[in-house]
Amino acid sequence: MRAFNAELSKLFSLPGIWLAFLIGAFAPAVITALDSIVQKEEIIAGVSTRLSEVGYIGLALGVQGVIILGVLAVSSEYLTESSESGGGAQITTSLTAVASRLHFLLAKAGAVTVISILLCIVAIMTTVSTTYLILGEYTPAFEWSRLIGAVCYWTFTALLALGITLLTKNGIIPLAVLMINSSVVSFSVLLYKVTKLALYLPDRAGLEMFMFTSDTPFTGSLFDRFHNPFTGGLIMFTWVVVIFIIAAIVFHRRDVAA
């Protein structure tokens, strides 16, 4: 528990974390606002084909905040970009303060999980209120099950970011890969054209927890429902667990200085 508290205070004292909070709390709302404004007329006329995704699209495309969170949580331990003295990596201090590497890892993952859940709740609040503000009485009802799916998606994404960064020790690669993959030009979309296995990629499967409700008109396209929300979540969770186990083994064996 003490290690967990230490991880929380470490995270909150990072300057970059405020960027993550800012993006996490407002990016989904902004995306939702744009989407709602564009669709407003269709929704009022009752001809919108994407009514079920209003609001959720913001939560799907606005996960950058937690990606930054997960990456920073690890990369800040290794990277020192200071104009003052030559870099002493914080990881050395961290691992002398918490001797067990597994505890250290669990504490970090715990801290990231808690912050992601809170951040997602904030994001849901801003997103839902934005939707109401723009669509008024035409706002579709937000179902609890899907909102919980969104929270899971955010948390798993943050943990994936954390696990990958632990393997690379450098924030650039995970940040680039995950940010691009969370965008509309995601790698998963491209890979889907090559192989149907792309449906089992973590982001695509995870999105099933709250996106792609059954009656989409693009039949046969990537945007169809392939798994049910529970299976989708399970697939993404498996990814998180596998990456974490690999990261934990590598982290356990590695010399700190290496």
Partner: protein, 255 residues
């Protein structure tokens, strides 16, 4: 005097080039970009082969990966300038070369020197791969068209790299620079294009969209398009503007 100062510029240029070449991260980025680009070209080609045969343009497919490819060059640009701030190297740089404006402009020049050939090779490799894979079904394209398009693509990637370097120099930290640039190129810009079709005309004046016209094959029925030259001009203007802003800040603030 002018002889010695031009020699001095050559020396600084050499030093900046040395700095970039001896940084393993730069090589790592370029190699992974190259490999990733071939993988993407393979994916696009195989996706293209499943489509209607005979109507495929090698250039369209070969350059389809450009959207992803630019990420590698954004990282390259950021690394080039932000690496100065690792381990306090900036202090050594500025005590060796105290003329800050000159130093930062030379760094951009050195970066361009590295980027231009690499960008050309990477872009060409994607097109070449596509050519080899689908030459039987594809529409034949004249060699001039291929070369002009590849030059345009090289120019676009180089300008993107320099722009990223300028943003990196402004922000001085890798993570925020990466978030800002990737956020703009991969999230904000595509979303604007989808959600706000009304402003597409103005999007042409943004660095990425304008730059796209440098290599994208033009469809004659679209009225909003720019010519490759216009696209190059706008893109270049943005890049120069950001470099200037970066230099002004660099000269004014404490290192």
């Amino acid at each position: 005097m002018s002889v010695s100062s031009s020699r001095k510029i050559m020396q600084i240029f050499g030093a900046e080039l040395d700095k970039l070449i001896t940084l393993p991260l730069i090589w790592l980025t370029l190699m992974s970009t190259f490999i990733l680009n071939l993988a993407l070209a393979a994916a696009f080609t195989s996706a293209g082969l499943q489509g209607t045969a005979g109507t495929q343009s090698i250039l369209n497919i070969g350059l389809a990966s450009m959207g992803y490819l630019q990420a590698g060059f954004i990282i390259l640009g950021i690394l080039a300038t932000c690496s100065e701030y690792t381990g306090g190297q900036i202090r050594t740089t500025l005590t060796t070369i105290p003329w800050r404006g000159l130093q930062l402009s030379t760094k951009h020049l050195a970066l361009a020197m590295i980027t231009i050939p690499v960008a050309f090779i990477i872009a060409a490799s994607g097109v070449l791969y596509t050519f080899i894979m689908i030459r039987d079904t594809a529409v034949v394209i004249e060699i001039d068209t291929i070369i002009t398009t590849l030059i345009g693509a090289t120019g676009y990637l180089t300008l993107t790299t320099l722009l990223s370097a300028a943003i990196g120099a402004l922000l001085r930290r890798t993570t925020p620079a990466l978030v800002v640039l990737l956020g703009y190129y991969f999230i904000v810009s595509p979303l604007m294009r989808i959600f706000l079709p009304g402003i597409n005309k103005y999007l042409n004046y943004f660095p990425d969209t304008a730059g796209n016209y440098m290599y994208m094959p033009r469809s004659p029925d679209d009225i909003n398009v720019l010519t490759p030259m216009q696209g190059t001009g706008i893109s270049m203007l943005w890049t120069l503007m950001f470099i200037t802003v970066a230099i002004v800040f660099y000269c004014k603030r404490d290192a």
